[in-house]
Symmetry: C2
Subunit: 722 residues, 2 copies
Amino acid sequence: MKRAILAAVALAAVAGAAKAEDGYDLWLRYRPLEKAVIARDVPYASAIMAQGASPTILAAREELQRGLSGLLGKRVPLATALKSGTILIGTPKDLAIAKLALPLEKAGAEGYVIKTVGRTTVIAGNSDVGALHGAFAYLRLVQTRGMLNSLDIVSAPKIGLRMLNHWDNVDRTLERGYSGISIFNWWELPGHLDPQYKDYARANASLGLNGTVLTNPSGVSAATSLETAWIKKAAALAGVMRPYGIKVYLSVRFSAPMEVGGLKTADPLDPQVRQWWKDKADEIYTLIPDFGGFLVKANSEGQPGPQDYGRSHADGANMMAEALAPHHGIVLWRAFVYSPSPEDRVKQSYNEFKPLDGKFLPNVIVQSKNGPLDFQPREPFSPVFGGLPNTSTGMEFQITKEYLGFEIHLVYLAPLWQEVLRSDTFAKGEGSTVARVVDGSLFQRPLSSIAGASNIGTARNWSGSIFDQANWYAFGRLAWDPDLDSKTIAEEWLKQTFTADPKFVEPVTEMMLGSRETAVDYMTPLGLAHQMATSHHYGPGPWVDDAGRPDWNPVYYARADENGIGVDRTATGANAVSQYAAPVAKAFSDPKATPENLLLWFHHLPWSYAMPSGGNLWESLVHHYAHGVNKVAEMQTRWQAMKPFVDAERFQITADFLAMQKENAELWRDGSIAYFQSVSHLPLPDGVPAPAHPLSFYKSLKLPFAPGSPGRTASPFALTGK
Amino acid sequence: MKRAILAAVALAAVAGAAKAEDGYDLWLRYRPLEKAVIARDVPYASAIMAQGASPTILAAREELQRGLSGLLGKRVPLATALKSGTILIGTPKDLAIAKLALPLEKAGAEGYVIKTVGRTTVIAGNSDVGALHGAFAYLRLVQTRGMLNSLDIVSAPKIGLRMLNHWDNVDRTLERGYSGISIFNWWELPGHLDPQYKDYARANASLGLNGTVLTNPSGVSAATSLETAWIKKAAALAGVMRPYGIKVYLSVRFSAPMEVGGLKTADPLDPQVRQWWKDKADEIYTLIPDFGGFLVKANSEGQPGPQDYGRSHADGANMMAEALAPHHGIVLWRAFVYSPSPEDRVKQSYNEFKPLDGKFLPNVIVQSKNGPLDFQPREPFSPVFGGLPNTSTGMEFQITKEYLGFEIHLVYLAPLWQEVLRSDTFAKGEGSTVARVVDGSLFQRPLSSIAGASNIGTARNWSGSIFDQANWYAFGRLAWDPDLDSKTIAEEWLKQTFTADPKFVEPVTEMMLGSRETAVDYMTPLGLAHQMATSHHYGPGPWVDDAGRPDWNPVYYARADENGIGVDRTATGANAVSQYAAPVAKAFSDPKATPENLLLWFHHLPWSYAMPSGGNLWESLVHHYAHGVNKVAEMQTRWQAMKPFVDAERFQITADFLAMQKENAELWRDGSIAYFQSVSHLPLPDGVPAPAHPLSFYKSLKLPFAPGSPGRTASPFALTGK
C-alpha cells in the first residue's frame, strides 16, 4: 500500500503538476505525516464512529475521514462498532458518549472535549457543532504532530460571536481586497452553489468561527442585499454554512427603507420606517431561520445614518434591534464614525458613543476598530474598549492588509492583535485588558463579539499570498481564545501549511513574529500613523495635504516642521489621553512613560529630543526606516534558505513577493526620509543611505495599477457597448 | 502498478476531493485511458526523445511526458537513444529527423508531420513551434483514441494569425466577460508570474493559436498599457508565451499620444504624433523583440480616432503600420464602426471601409466582426468579407457569449462560426466562401487573420462554465482549419474533456450541435436581432425604445407593428442587400429566396405572410419561441441521463446552469411573445402557452445582479475610504 501511494504521488507529480500545492488547501492540507509519526498514530485512529445523521455530524465524520486518510496515507474506514483505536465522535445523545464521565460542563455550547479512553479517542461536544469543532481540533493536533495516546482536552470559545466581515460588494468587487474578487458569485446564486463555498465553511469551522457578514457595510451593496432576490441568494449560502455552525449576517444600509422599500424617509423614529425594518426582518427569517443579524456603518464617511434625522446612533441601532429581537438576531453597529470637524479624528468615536453608553438594547453590539484611527500598522488601543461599561463592545480587526502592504508584504498580524488584546485599559483596575472587555467578562456583558475584515477572494490561494493565510488562521484562533500566543499560532499554522521540520518551523516562525515590527519600522515608526499615499495606500505620502479633507491628510497626522514632529494629544493639546482610564492617561501624558513605539502618537517633540533608547528623535526616526528595510532583506535571505522545505509554487510566490516588498519598503524609507529631511533640514546619521532620488521624485510617483488607485476603480472602465 | 494507480485514485478521491475535476485541466486532462487502449498504445509510446534544448522543444517534451504519463498511467521516460516505440520529436536540425523522407514542405512554418516509421513515431516541424504543435496534435490523437500504429499526418494552419482578443481592462475587470476577472494580474506583474499564465499558453498552443491581445480595445486600458511600466509587465507575459509560439499584442487607444505622451493632438498626419508612435514602437520592441502589434478600435462607440481630425481610417492605420513595419509588427484595425446616423447601422462598416479598399499598408489587417451588426445569435455574414479585395480582411468572432446567455446558457458556437465561414460571398464567383476570404487565398492576400474575443477569466474552469470551454476549443480548431466540421470538433472536445464512451459522446454531441439553433429560437428567431435588454443583454427587451440612441433600441431592429415585422433591407428599403455580390444580393432581395432563418433581417412582412415551412409568419414566430424552450427542457433531460459518465462537480454545474437557462429561455419566450402580441393583436396558436405575466411585468424586470447591468459596474461601488 505504501508503495502504491508513493507511485501515486510520483504519477500525480507528472500528471497533475498544475494543481500541485497552489495553496488552495490552506491549513487543511492533510498530506501524509512522516513514517514514524504515522506508525505512532495509526493505532489511535484506525476507524471513525459517529452516531447520528445530522448534517453537522456527517460533516465532522467526513472531515475526520478526509483528514486522517490523507495524514495516515490510507483510507480510514467508518466503524459500526467500537473497537480498539476507534475515534468516537458525537454528543451525549450518543449513549456510548453519555456513559463516559466527560467534563462537558466546561465545553459550553460550542466547545469540545477530546479524551483518550483506553485506545478509543472520544471527541464530544454538548452540541453537534461542538463535536465538529472537536474534530477540527483533533485534526490540528494530528497535523501538528501532537501525541494521541493520552489526550485530555477541554476547550470552549471565550468570545460569543466570532466572525468574518466581508467588504465584498454585490458586483463581486472587493473594497480593500487584494485577492481577486468575492468568492460569493451573487449572479449565479441561488441557482448554482460553487463547491468553494463548502471549503470556505470548512476553513472557518476549523477555527471555530461562527458567523460571516457576506456584504460590504459601505455603499449600495448594503441596500441591494436586502432585496428579496438577494435574500434568497444569501439563504442559499446560509444552507451551505449551516452544517458548519456558521451563521450568515448581512450589512445593511441605513437608508434601505428608501432605496429598497420606496419610503420617503429612513428616520428611525418614523413608524413606517420601524415597520419596514420589522417586516424585512420577518421576511429574512422566513428564508433564513438562523440568520445572524445586521452589520451597520452609519454616519461615517458619507454613509447615511440616524444623525441625518437628528437622531442618535442608539435610536438607529435600537430600531433595528427591535426588529431582530423576536428572531434572536443581533445588531452590530460600527463605532468607526468621524466627520471633518475641528475635533481630533482619533477622539470622535469615543465622543460619539460614550454619552450613549447604556442606551443600547441588549441585542446591540457596538463594534469598534482596535485603534482609534484606522487599522494603522500601530495605534494605541481604542478608548472605546473599557470606556463603555454598559455596552457590549465588539472588536473589529482588519485581516486584509489595507495599510500593511496588501497581499505583497509578508506581515504576520497576530503580534499586532495580541498587543491590542493584552493592552490594559485599567477600566476596572489593573488586569482590565482589552481581551476581557471583548470577551464580555470585565463588564459581565450578555454579548461578546470579535470580527475580522476578511482577506479572502477568488485567488487560488484564497488570500492573495500564502502567508496571508496565516492572518486568516491567526484571527480565527484568537477569536476562539484571545489569550493564545502569536508564536504558538504561527508554529501551528506553519506545521499544517508546510512541514513540521523544525529546521523550517523555527526560523520561519521567528521571521513571522518580527514581520509586523519590520513593517512598522519602514512605514510609520515611533507612533507615526496615516502616512500613506492617498486612495490606494500602497507606499508613502507624508507630504500629502490635499486629500480632500484635513483628516485624510498625512500632514494632519505627523505635524512635522523644522522644530519637531508628532501630535500633542496630551492635556496641552488635543487631550485624547483624557479618554483613557487614569493610569493609562497618566502614562500617555508623559513622553518618558509613553511606550517609545507610540511616542509621536501622543507627543509633539523636538527633533533633538533625547530618546530613552539612545540618540535623538531625528536619528532614531531615520534609523527605524533603515532598519525596516534591512529586516526585509534578512527575510529574503532567510526564505531563500527554506527552499528545500517548500514546494516550487509556494516557494516562488513568496520569494517574488518578498522582492517586491523590499522595493516598496525602500520606497517608504526613501520617500519618508526625503520628506522629513525637507522639513527638519537635518543631516542623515552615519550609515543611513541618502534617498536615491530627490523628494520631487517620490511626490511624483503614481501607482495607477495598484488596487484601490483612483482611476483604476472609477468610471473609465464603464461599459462602452462594443 | 495498476493496482497502485487504482489505490492512488481511490485515495485521491478522499484526500483531494476539493480539487477533483473542477475543469481547470480543460481538454488537456490526460487521465488514464481505458485498459485495452493503454495496452494497444503503450508499444508506440514507450519513451520520448527530443534533441535540442530550445525552450519550445523542452516545452514539447514536457507536454508529451506529462500527457502520455497521465494517459498511459505510468511515467513515460525520456530516451537518449532511439529504441522501438520511441517518440522522436524535433526539426530537421535533428539528423535522425533530417534523414527521414518526411513531407515537411507541406507543413509550412508552424505545421507538423506525424509519421510512424517502424515502431517509432516521428513528430516533426520545420520549426520548433511546428514540432510543438505536432506534439499537441499527437496528444489529441491519443486522447481521442486514434490508432497509433500507422500514422501519416501532415497539417499546416490555413490562416496566418490566429489569436485571442482579450477585452480585459488593466484593472482586471472584463468587458463582456462572465468568468471572474482577467487572469492577467497586472498589479503583480512583472514581479510575479502566476503559474496559470503557462497553462494559458499551453492551452492556446494546443490549438495552434499564435497570438494574444492582452488588453481591451475600448477605454483607457488601451492607453495605459502603452506606459513604460505596463510594457514591462506585458514583456513578462511575453516571456511565458514565447516558448509556446504565441506572440503578445496590445490594444492601443488612438489618443494615446495625448494621454501617455502628453502631446496636444493625436492627428495621424502630425509629424510629432507620427514620431511618438515610432518611438513607442521602438520602445516596445526593445522590451518585447517578437511583439505582435496593435489592435485598434477607433471612431466607434465613442472611442477616439482619425476622423476626430478629419482623417480616414487608412490614415490612422497606416501611421501605426509605418511605426511597426521596421519591426515586422501588424496593425489590426477594427471594422466595427458605426455612429448614430440616419444610415442603417448594419451598412455603416462596409460604407466606411469600401472606399478605403487598397489604401492600407501591407501590414494592416482590417478586422471585421462576422456579421454586419454585433455578434447576434444569427446574422448574415458581413459584406466586408468579399467586399474588400485589396485589403487583408481578418475575422473577429466572439467566444464570450455576450448575446447568447453568458456562461449560463449551453450554446456551442462552432455551428454559428461554421455557418459564417461556409457562407458564399460570390465575390469571385461561386465558392468564394468567407473562409477563403479570411485565409487570404481568395484575393491572394499577404496577411490573413482570425480572432476570437476571449471568454477566459479567473473562474477555476477558465470560461465560467464547462461547456464554454468547448467554444474556446472550437475557435482554436477553426482558426487552424476553418474547414473543420462542428461535429468533429465537438466529438474531439468531449472525448478529451469527459470520456470517449459513445453512450456519452453521441448524445452530447447532438445536444451541442443543436444548442445554438435552440438559442436563436428562444431569443431571436427568423432573422430577428438585437432584441435584448439594455446594457446587460441577458434577457429580452423587444419593447425598448429609449436606450439612448436609435441604433441601440431593439424597436429599431424589429420594426414590429400591427401590420407586420422585420426590416426592409432590400432596394425598397435600406438597401443593405446592395453591399453583397449580385447573386447574394438577388437572393436576399426576395423573401422566397432568402433563407427563412434570415427572413426578418432583410424583409418587413405582414403577420399573415405564408411561410414556406408552413403556417403564417405570426404563427411561425411564436412557434419558434416555444420550440426553443422545449429544446432546453430536452437538453436538461438528456444531461440528467449523462450523470453516470460525469464527475459530480462538472455534472452539477452543468445541470444547474441548464435549469437557469430554462428559466431565462422562458423569460425570452414569454417577454417576446407578450410584446409582439401587444402589437400584432393576434391570438396565440394552439399549443403555445400564454405568457405567465402581462407585458408590464416583463418590462418592469431589472437584473441588477447580471454582469454588465448598469449600476453594477458603475460608480456606487467606488471607494469610500473605510
